[in-house]
């Protein structure tokens, strides 16, 4: 929630390139082949990077200055057109922008062009960093970009006085401040938990600066920190994707990615790293900034295999944290207990409810696998749409009344829309056991938007409203049973096509609209292969014992398809098979692939016999093949 100029810079970045024939974007979905050796994996990775660079390079118009930084960076990465790059840089640096979204592309060009740009061009960059006050932003991803950029530029131009920097601080002071921030942030993320966890777009805001740090930092310790953080981010991505598609829960997502799960910058990263999903259009714009340096990153095989080679179903439980709460909270950062249950045909992910982020949180969903995710709305969930100055003030240092209006103009167009599908709520409590999700809602009287929205995709088949109260459907090879706990309407809904503009389109999706303050949803997923037919699945669901009441505190007792008896009461700890469920014992990561103790700074990444340990306390990477 900061200055519009920051947002504009970001928007311009995303729109920097236009669509034309991109081989991987317009071509068929990638084959689901597991490349057996690191050499083949690396060769495929390099080929994808080459595709990006070749595509972007081909868009240059002969004889014209390059209009923006991705083109210059691409040309420099390819060691082409250095003279034109120089003239283009000089032109662009006449009107430098402000903020991290301008800073990191400029760093990219400054470093790629160290030995290619003319002295005048390099001086133009340097001068821009002297005269234009750079906005730091107010969010963790802003600071990751800002301080990485400042760190690298301070290293590139050491021993210079404060008068030569926009900050008024000397190179040494800028370097020290940036280093201190980055180390503090890495320590926080690797001991207390990640803040903006599993973001569909913001992964770029972290991965790109960390790649730059890993590539260009002079200090070997900072280079290593960059590399380790990249491994950490990509291991987390791998674990939370279903054939390359990042599913919920997400600290932050957007109106489009929350529905069309494959249409996310995260898919670009899955594609370039794992090769298992098509990239998004223009490689997300941001992908170009990654690609220009990506050959300097070597994806560990263990992470590749987590993404593409899952021999069995798995449960992964992670501990994360919310964004900083300035007000309205007993804690600065609240704990997030995140569950991911992934099977071959679908994944179920959630956290316990509440707001990890004030606007763009996505608390839970079932996402089913599709061979080609482009255009497919492969997800199901419910949520309480929130538009609340109280909640915004919890996270933003602003006066109350203008914020809801402002955020709708700052890339979160749906924020004040009652039929949105983006966002979390303080009045939602979620519990997940394997492929069962119970979401309860206890919405106070007087709340703006006193209803819940369930998302029913255009891509569901066999949608059946059953007299039992269950709604049955099939998505891909996943059967879905959705049980609304209060009266509802299923009605057509026009989805937001752009979080920036708020433009909508009716594509055949439906909104389950339930205007009851005390409310709930149960979703049970199962694989098609588990049942003889759809009728057998329905019969199995109908047979599951279920009782609930909504009069005082919403309460549900449900026997899951997997045999657990789960009781959830809003405001109380869930009870599983008679035992209160205890979140306090959760580790930072716990599962077959990722494991870390709270406070340890040490992540063990495992796949079969492969193991990599990232230890931020000893600043070391340890690889081994287990016997």
């Amino acid at each position: 929630m900061i200055a519009r100029r920051l947002l504009i810079a970001s928007f311009a970045l995303g729109c920097a390139v236009v669509s034309s024939a991109q081989p991987a974007f317009v071509g068929p979905a990638p084959a689901r082949t597991i490349l057996p050796t690191p050499e083949l994996q690396r060769a495929a990775y390099l080929a994808r990077i080459d595709e990006i660079l070749a595509w972007r390079s081909s868009q240059a118009k002969p004889g014209e200055l390059f209009p923006e930084m991705t083109m210059i960076a691409t040309k420099l990465a390819l060691h082409q057109d250095a003279e034109l790059c120089s003239r283009s840089v000089i032109q662009l640096m006449k009107t430098p922008a402000s903020g991290p979204f301008w800073m990191f592309p400029t760093v990219n060009v400054a470093f790629l062009g160290r030995d290619q740009l003319s002295l005048e061009a390099r001086q133009a960059i340097r001068k821009a960093w002297s005269r234009e006050m750079q906005m730091r932003g107010d969010t963790e991803n802003h600071w990751a970009m800002y301080y990485t950029s400042l760190y690298l530029m301070a290293e590139l131009y050491p021993n210079e006085p404060g008068s030569s920097w926009y900050s008024g601080k000397s190179s040494a002071d800028n370097l020290a401040e940036a280093k201190e921030y980055l180390i503090d942030w890495m320590n926080l993320a690797t001991t207390v938990g990640q803040g903006e966890f599993n973001p569909t777009h913001y992964i770029g805001e972290y991965a790109i600066p960390m790649l730059y740090l890993a590539t260009w930092a002079k200090d070997p310790a900072m280079r290593l920190r960059g590399k380790m953080t990249l491994d950490w981010i990509f291991a987390d991505l791998a674990e939370n994707t279903l054939n390359g598609v990042l599913h919920g829960a997400n600290a932050r997502t957007d109106d489009v990615s929350v529905i069309e799960r494959g249409k996310a910058l995260a898919s670009f990263f899955s594609w370039v790293l794992f090769g298992n999903v098509p990239p998004i259009i223009s490689y997300g714009g941001w992908g170009l900034y990654f690609a220009t340096v990506a050959k300097n990153y070597e994806l560990p095989e263990v992470i590749y295999r987590i993404a593409v080679d899952r021999p069995s179903d798995y449960v992964q439980r992670d501990f994360k944290r919310t964004r900083r709460r300035w007000r309205n909270s007993d804690v600065l950062m609240a704990p997030i207990y995140k569950t991911n249950y992934t099977r071959r045909d679908y994944a179920v992910g959630s956290y316990q409810g509440g707001l990890a982020d004030p606007i763009q949180t996505h608390v839970w969903d079932v996402t089913w696998d599709v061979r080609d995710p482009r255009g497919v709305h492969n997800t199901m969930f419910s949520m309480h749409p929130v538009s609340s100055s109280y909640d915004l003030q919890t996270y933003f240092s602003e006066l109350p009344d203008q914020m809801a209006k402002e955020v709708t103009k700052e890339g979160k167009a749906s924020y004040d829309s009652p039929d949105k599908f983006l966002g979390g709520s303080r009045f939602e409590q979620v519990f997940q056991d394997l492929d069962t999700v119970i979401a309860l809602y206890d919405i106070p009287v007087g709340t703006r938007f006193p209803h819940i929205n369930g998302f029913f995709s255009k891509d569901l088949v066999q949608l059946t409203v059953d007299p039992s109260g269950w709604i049955f459907a099939q998505g891909g090879s996943c059967y879905l049973a959705y049980r609304p706990l209060a009266a509802y309407q299923l009605r057509p809904v026009a989805l937001i096509k752009s979080s920036m503009t708020g433009e909508r389109a009716s594509l055949g999706d439906q909104q389950l609209f339930s205007p009851h303050l005390k409310n709930g949803t149960i979703v049970q997923a199962a694989a098609v292969s588990e049942f003889k037919d759809f009728a057998a699945f329905q019969a199995a669901i109908r047979a599951l014992p279920l009782s609930f009441q909504l009069v005082t505190k919403p309460t549900v007792t449900f026997q899951t398809l997997r045999g657990k008896v789960v009781t959830c009461t809003f405001g109380a700890a869930p009870i599983v098979n008679g035992q209160p469920f205890d979140y306090t014992t959760w580790k930072l990561f716990e599962g077959p692939y990722l494991n870390a103790e709270k406070g340890s700074g040490r992540l063990t990444i495992t796949h079969g016999a492969l193991e990599r340990i990232l230890d931020f306390k000893t600043l070391s990477i340890t690889d081994r093949v287990k016997p």
Binding site: I2, A3, R4, R5, L7, I8, F11, A12, C15, S98, E132, M133, Q134, M135, R136, G137, D138, W143, Y147, G162, S163, Y166, S167, G168, K169, E177, A178, E180, Y181, D184, W326, R327, N328, S329, D330, V331, L332, Q393, S397, L399, P400, D401, Q402, T408, K409, E410, G411, M500, T501
Partner: protein
């Protein structure tokens, strides 16, 4: 300390006396940003907007931009001993200038963000107070270092929107926080709560006529008044409290006139020391979402920053309004600083 106090008082009286002889005694500086009408669209790029940041009124009543083109300044403080020394509460932290705004240094480090307010102790001008979303930092060395000074503030509830030094006593400071109004009488060595609120105290002001009289606005508890230097507070009965109030100002030319700004209520004024209040929105664009107001201490002119609309001014304390420019702006503060007349107000101005 007493020598500093006396010297400061002498300097101030000298400056004010000189100012009275040659023109306005105060500089007016707007902390302002400009917005694209109708929100962000691709076609709105590039933005045909004036630079954001500080706009200072000159002798010809026209405004001149100075400092960085920067969208978020919340307040500006000036060293009473030296017009070239400035402290700005900005998104980046506190920005410090020692050359009248020609160049700036980010005074705080990575661990402080988005200060909401900044003020200088006029009796100890090396002491600067910085209101933060998570407490307060105090510099005792002209902005070189910013240690936190939070003993007595609650672990939570210390979100601070406003901080003001009592001009009558060095080291006596009031702070408007999420959980109420806090007071220190020892230069922030320790704090104590003097009034509890349900939500944030948005502004604090000390009367220019009576140093014991303070006013405050809140999000949840309406407008407040203290007649004992901020020790005890009472709600001002005539001011509505159902919606947030954004800021409050005294009229230095008339001890009985105050005004309140509110997104919901627009401009509220009193001309009888707070006994009765009137809405003064006729002539302001509807909806009259007033984000900030200010009263010129030289002539009682009332300024209203109407959110994303423009700045309006009134010569009759709100009865009539006229545009003062700044279309499509959001004004975060109207800053009136005692003018130094023996040197240019700020180095950049002719």
């Amino acid at each position: 300390m007493s020598k500093i106090k006396i010297a400061g008082a002498l300097l101030l009286s000298w400056v004010v006396a000189l100012g009275a002889a040659v023109g306005p005694a105060h500089d007016l500086i707007l902390c302002v940003t400009f917005r694209v009408p109708g929100g962000l669209t691709a076609t709105a790029l590039p933005l045909p907007l004036p630079p954001c940041g500080f706009h200072q009124r000159g002798a010809d009543n026209r405004f001149t931009h100075f400092g960085p083109n920067y969208p978020r300044f919340n307040n500006l403080a000036r060293d009473p001993r030296d017009p070239r020394v400035l402290y700005a509460a900005s998104l980046n932290g506190v920005l410090c200038s020692t050359d009248g705004g020609e160049s700036w240094r980010i005074g705080t480090s990575w661990d402080m963000t988005e200060p909401r307010d900044v003020c200088i102790d006029p009796h100890a001008p090396d002491h600067i107070y910085l209101a933060l979303p998570d407490g307060i930092a105090v510099s005792n060395d002209r902005g070189l270092t910013w240690p936190r000074r939070e003993i007595g503030l609650p672990r939570r509830g210390k979100y601070m929107q406003a901080v003001k030094v009592d001009r009558a006593q060095a080291g006596r400071v009031l702070a408007g926080c999420e959980s109420g109004i806090y007071l220190t009488e020892n230069g922030a060595q320790s704090w104590r709560r003097v009034f509890s609120t349900q939500a944030t105290t948005t502004d604090l002001q000390q009367s220019p006529h009576d140093a014991q009289l303070w006013l405050a606005t809140t999000q949840s508890d309406g407008a407040l008044r203290s007649r004992d230097g901020g020790l005890t507070w009472e709600k001002i009965a005539g001011v509505p409290a159902a919606a947030a109030l954004y800021n409050i100002a005294f009229d230095a030319t008339n001890a009985r006139r105050y005004a309140v700004a509110s997104w919901t209520y627009g401009i509220l004024t009193t001309e009888d020391g707070g006994e009765t209040w009137s809405e003064r929105n006729a002539g302001l664009p509807a909806p009259h979402r007033v984000f900030r107001l200010g009263i010129d201490p030289d002539n009682g002119r009332l300024y209203a920053g109407v959110y994303e609309a423009a700045v309006y001014e009134s010569l009759d304390f709100g009865r009539t309004w006229r545009s003062a420019g700044f279309e499509h702006s959001v004004v975060y503060n109207f800053v009136f600083l005692p003018r130094f007349v023996n040197t240019p107000a700020l180095a950049h101005l002719p």
